[in-house]
């Protein structure tokens, strides 16, 4: 595993084709976001549909920062902080809701934000599309290699973060809540606080991943940013790979990135096909790829070998 990470990190320096960099870049971004969605929906019982709010707010923080003279990397880090603060703010209404209510309550949030950014044009300047559409300013000296490495850091980092969280007290508490929320609460697990922690963590990482994505894209505008299609991508990556499994999002994200480039030619049909795949996988193999693999003895031996390292 270490070897493959080192290899990926060396990609820009050994002259691999640009398209490979793009694959790995998108993979890292989606992986970080899918891992965070898995943490919420798979491990904490929070079926959050407001991830676009986090990545969009972080993206806007960075972009708007570059307009008022804040270096892009400060804005990028600050974007995660803004996303975290926003997570705390919306936890007030949505954490009163459980299960299905939570999902729909969070679904409204990106929609509201999109309208906010249609109406509110925070900094003046060149418009790009409707509402608050901005170019990311002054990033001419940021190379694709740099962006690639930051994305890789966040993507790979999210894997280790998941490992760390699930083996920490937080992870134990989450497992207890998942098995029986009432029993966990009566044994002294602070259910509300643990869920809030995971919500904030996921906001920060999703925000960072989003900000790096917009650093790469070079511009940001509200309708594609606060869009349910982001949610679709994360959901698909997690569900295809296997929800509630650590390695699921890794496999799922590979498939999603592959699909993304495969279906790029049929842009109109891409999300239709992804929707069908989502429903199909959920019905036929709810544990995703990992569920199928885990029934294979060779895979189990291999997984043990990797985690032993």
């Amino acid at each position: 595993m270490i070897a493959s990470i080192v290899l990926l990190a060396l990609f820009p320096f050994i002259g691999v084709p640009r398209s490979w960099l793009l694959y790995v870049f998108l993979f890292s971004i989606y992986l970080a976001m899918a891992n965070m969605w898995n943490l919420l929906a798979g491990y904490s019982g929070l079926t959050s549909l407001c991830q676009p709010a986090f990545l969009g707010l972080a993206g806007y923080t960075m972009t708007m920062g570059t307009w008022v003279g804040v270096p892009w990397w400060v804005g990028l880090i600050g974007g995660g902080v803004v996303a975290a603060l926003f997570a705390i703010l919306i936890s007030l209404p949505v954490f009163r809701l459980s299960g299905i209510y939570f999902a729909i309550g969070t679904l409204v949030v990106p929609e509201a934000l999109r309208l906010v950014f249609y109406l509110w044009k925070p900094v003046g300047g060149a418009l790009h599309g409707a509402g608050a559409g901005y170019m990311v300013k002054g990033i001419a000296d940021v190379s694709m290699d740099q962006i690639y490495l930051i994305a890789l850091l966040i993507g790979i980092g999210s894997i280790f973060l998941m490992r760390f969280i699930l083996r920490s007290n937080l992870g134990l508490g989450l497992a207890a809540i998942r098995d029986n929320e009432r029993a966990a609460a009566s044994s002294g697990v602070n259910v509300f606080r643990l869920k809030l922690y995971t919500f904030i963590i996921s906001a920060v990482i999703t925000g960072w991943a989003g900000a790096v994505f917009y650093l790469y894209q070079g511009y940001i505008e509200p309708s594609a940013t606060f869009n349910v299609k982001w949610t679709m991508t994360l959901l698909l990556a997690t569900v295809i790979g296997g929800m509630r499994t650590e390695e699921g999002p890794v496999f799922g994200t590979m498939v999603v990135v592959f699909l993304y480039f495969l279906l790029a030619r049929y842009a109109g049909y891409s999300f239709l096909i992804q929707g069908i795949i989502l429903v199909g996988i959920m019905l036929l193999s709810p544990q995703g790829i990992v569920g199928v693999l885990r029934s294979n003895r060779l895979y189990r031996a291999l997984a043990q070998l990797i985690s032993a390292r």
Binding site: A41, G45, T47, L49, I90, L92, P93, V94, R96, L97, G99, I100, Y101, A103, I104, G105, L107, V108, V109, E111, A112, L115, V116, Y118, L119, V228, T231, M232, L235, V239, M243, G268, Y269, F271, L272, Q274, G275, I276, L278, V279, M282, L283, P286
Partner: protein, 288 residues
């Protein structure tokens, strides 16, 4: 100020609009009552109904209200199928599976509509939908009055159906206590199918009137899902009358808010009200 009658216009319009919102919310409320599922695809089902009426009108020249004769049975059958082959199976898998499948269905409908109808905004216009009617010295669009009447009619019809027919009572029984209903010989799987189908049929009606009132695009579904959800939240789940009152409150908030802060902010005010109500009273204004 032109006169004190000015503020009256948004109040009356919001009141009438409430009928439409209640109409959209009835199906969501019904599915939730019986299956404990917030159907994330409900808004898209409504928009599907709008496109159905739009298609019949533009290709066959059918009157949109008359086209319900075709749209209602088609949507009813579709709903039965969706419940039987997709949603019904999902409940056995895990807690979040039905939710994810509903989300997938929503995206499938959205993108199918987009392929067939392009992302352009459409509207159902007939000889009467653009007319207006006089009330005192004020003028209101006739479509809003039709919305209100349709809302009242569908609500009363559903209420009578649930109270008086065997199927209606079985649906009520299944939503109150599934196990007890099963023991009394109610086939709850079939009941779920009918409940979903009825919700879809009501979405077809809602879609037609929505199309006559507002322009719609393939992605409008989410806004109307939010409206339906807000309506149900304000009214409290399970109560038909509460849903209706919730619709009226939400309609008035939207139009009166638009009157004071400009029409562009209407939807934003609506979303904020939903989130604020969730914060203060998650069980709804009329819920226990």
């Amino acid at each position: 100020m032109i006169g004190s009658g000015d503020i009256l216009t948004p109040i009356v319009m919001g009141f009438l609009l409430g009928g439409l919102y209640a109409l959209i919310a009835l199906g969501l409320s019904m599915v939730f009552g019986v299956m404990r599922l917030i159907n994330l695809a409900h808004g898209d089902f409504v928009i599907l109904g709008s496109y159905g009426a739009y298609a019949l009108m533009s290709f066959l020249g059918m009157d949109p209200i008359l086209s319900l004769v075709i749209c209602i049975p088609v949507m009813f059958a579709l709903g039965f199928g969706v419940q039987k082959y997709l949603m019904g199976r999902a409940f056995g898998i895990s807690m979040e599976a039905p939710l994810i499948i509903a989300f997938g269905i929503a995206l499938i409908i959205q993108n199918t509509n987009q392929i067939f109808w392009t992302p352009l905004s459409r509207g159902i216009t007939t000889s009467y939908s653009l007319k207006s009617f006089q009330m005192g010295h004020l003028q209101f669009p006739l479509a809003y009055l039709l919305d209100f009447l349709a809302g009242v009619i569908v609500m009363i019809a559903l209420r009578e159906f649930l109270a008086r027919t065997y199927l209606g009572r079985a649906i009520t029984a299944a939503s109150q206590d599934k196990r007890a209903a099963q023991l009394m010989g109610v086939n709850t799987n079939r009941i779920h199918g009918y409940a979903f189908a009825i919700a879809m049929a009501s979405a077809a009606v809602a879609g037609v009137f929505l199309g006559m009132t507002f322009p719609f695009t393939p992605t409008s579904g989410i806004s109307f899902l939010a409206i339906a959800f807000g309506t149900v939240i304000i009214g409290g789940l399970g109560s038909m009358l509460g849903t209706f009152i919730g619709g009226i409150i939400l309609g008035m908030v939207q139009t009166v808010g638009g009157y004071f802060f400009g029409p562009a902010t209407q939807m934003l005010i609506l979303y904020l009200i939903v989130l604020v109500i969730l914060t203060i009273r998650p069980q709804g204004l009329f819920g226990r």
